[in-house]
């Protein structure tokens, strides 16, 4: 189970990749394995406002449906259209081809992306999944 070191994570098993003032979001390898084969991903609409910690979509597998949470505050600027035809990308490549949506992150006073302070590092996330069993 992989936990790339350069990403940030949430306790709800999303990963965040910050690129300037925008962030890419997906779910982790751990989450994809727990879900099983993903059959459908419901993504937020382009232009939608998302709020950190709030559900913004759904990930459905054969055995269950899980809420998809936004890790950041901002506006959705892009969604991964590939997932409509091939939701299995989430299982095969959760950190690359299985990315879900991109957000223009709300900026702080300095013009930097205002990331929530409670995002986890790779090491912290790894610890979380190990203790979950």
């Amino acid at each position: 189970m992989s936990v790339p070191a350069e990403l940030h994570y949430t306790p709800e098993h999303e990963w965040v990749s910050l690129e300037g003032t925008s962030a890419s979001v997906g779910i982790t390898d751990y989450a994809a394995q727990q879900l099983g084969d993903v059959v459908y991903v419901s993504l937020p609409a382009l232009g939608a406002t998302v709020t950190a910690g709030e559900p913004c979509g759904e990930v459905e597998s054969v055995k269950s449906v899980s809420d998809l949470y936004s890790p950041v505050d901002g506006e959705v600027i892009e969604v991964n259209a590939e997932l409509e035809d091939d939701p299995s990308l989430v299982n095969a490549e959760p950190y690359t081809a299985g990315w879900m949506f991109r957000v223009r992150v709300v900026q702080d006073g300095n013009g930097d992306a205002a990331l929530p302070t409670d995002l986890l590092s790779a090491a912290e996330y790894d610890e979380l999944t190990k203790s979950a069993g």
């Binding site: 059959v39 459908y40 759904e58 459905e60 054969v62 449906v65 939701p87």
Partner: protein, 129 residues
Amino acid sequence: MPLYGNELGPDVTPFEAGLGRVVKFDKPGEFVGREALAARASSGPSRHLAGLTIASRRIARHGYPVLADGRTCGTVTSGAPSPTLGVPIAMAYLDRPAASLAGAVLTVGIRGEAVPAHLTDLPFYSRRR
């Protein structure tokens, strides 16, 4: 295949679940429920088991409503993707025979969205011999 907790339950007769062939009224001796079942067999089923295919990748799950032309007409008992058929399939109990719904626009309520569905025969698949 009907499963207890989904297609079978304490309020479902074998006839409604498509298992009428295992009830033998002419066997020698009595069995518990013989009279009650004979009465239900002659009065006709109150629910009708139907097969559905779903026009989406989403799975119709136990308890989701089935609507005909926007009006609830039944409930999904179980659903799963079908790798063989290429679409999700489901079984549902309808409040009327499936044949009476020919021509109606069927949808399944999947977590707030009305997803198109189509009636199909049971069993969903028979291996060609």
